[in-house]
Symmetry: C2
Subunit: 158 residues, 2 copies
C-alpha cells in the first residue's frame, strides 16, 4: 500500500501539490495585479477559491516534504478522510471558478466595450491557470481516495 504513487506522503504527491500551488498563485497574480477584478462576481469567486487552494496545497506539500525526507507517514483513517474530502471540495470549487471566469471573460471579449484586449487576455490566462490547478487537484484527490478506500477495505476485513 505504501508504494501507491501520488497518495499522501510520496514524492509524486509532493510534485502534484507544488504544481497546484504554482498554478494557483499564477492564476491569482494574473487576476489581481493591476486589474479591477472586484466588479464581477465570478472573478471575486475565483480569487476567494484560489485564496483557499494556495494554503491548502502548501500545507499538504509541507506534510509531503516531511514524509519524504524525514519520516514515513502514519496514515490515520480520520486524517485521510479529512484530506480526501477537502481535496474533492476544493477540486470542484476550482473547476467552478475556472468555468465561471472563462465564460465571463468570453462574454466581456465579445461585447468589447467592457475591457481592453490586454485585460481580457489576462482574465483568460487566469482561467487557464485555474484549469491546470484543477486538473492537478483532481489527480491528487483521486489518488488519495483510492488510498482511503484501500485502507477502509483492509480495516473492514482485518
Amino acid at each position: 500500500m505504501d508504494e501507491l504513487p501520488g497518495a499522501l506522503g510520496t514524492s509524486a504527491s509532493l510534485a502534484l501539490r507544488l504544481g497546484q500551488a504554482i498554478f494557483s498563485i499564477a492564476s491569482l497574480l494574473f487576476m489581481c495585479l493591476d486589474v479591477e477584478f472586484y466588479s464581477y462576481t465570478a472573478f471575486c469567486f475565483l480569487v476567494t477559491i484560489m485564496g483557499l487552494v494556495i494554503p491548502w496545497s502548501l500545507t499538504l506539500a509541507l506534510v509531503d516534504v516531511y514524509s519524504v525526507f524525514f519520516k514515513p507517514p502514519s496514515r490515520q483513517l480520520g486524517v485521510m478522510s479529512v484530506i480526501v474530502i477537502g481535496d474533492w471540495v476544493l477540486s470542484f470549487l476550482s473547476l467552478a471558478a475556472a468555468c465561471s471566469t472563462a465564460s465571463v471573460s468570453e462574454i466581456l471579449i465579445t461585447s468589447s466595450s467592457f475591457c481592453s484586449a490586454e485585460l481580457c487576455s489576462r482574465y483568460q490566462l487566469s482561467a487557464a491557470m485555474t484549469f491546470l490547478a484543477w486538473f492537478l487537484s483532481l489527480a491528487s484527490s483521486l489518488f488519495n481516495l483510492w488510498l482511503l478506500l484501500l485502507c477502509e477495505v483492509y480495516m473492514s476485513w482485518l
Copy 2:
C-alpha cells in the same frame, strides 16, 4: 456487494437516474423554449451537455428498470468501468455548464441592457436545474466508483 444502494441495478440508482433525466430536461426546456440561447457560448455549451446527459441517464435508467424488475445485473468489470468514466466525465461537464450559465446570466442581469428580467430569470432557473442534475450525477458516479473499486479489490485478492 449486491446490496450497495445507489450502484448500478438498484432501485436507488433508478431514482437517481430518473432525477438526473428530469432535471436535465427541465434545464434544457428553460434554456431553449422561446429563448435565443445560441448567441452566447456558455448557453450553447449547456444545451450540448444536457443533450448528452439526457440520453445517457435514460439509457442507464432503462438498464436499472430491467435489473430491478426482471433480472439481477451481471456487473462486468469492463462495463462498470465505462459507466463510471462516463458518469464522471458527464458530471464534470454538467458542473462546468452550470457554473458558466450561472455566471453569464449574472453578468447579463447586472448589465441590464442585454436581457429582460423574465429572460434572465429563465437562464438562472436553467442553471439551477443543471446544478441539481449535477448533484444527482455526482451521487451516481460516487456509488458506482465505490462498487467498481470493491470489485477490483475482490478480483485482485481472489
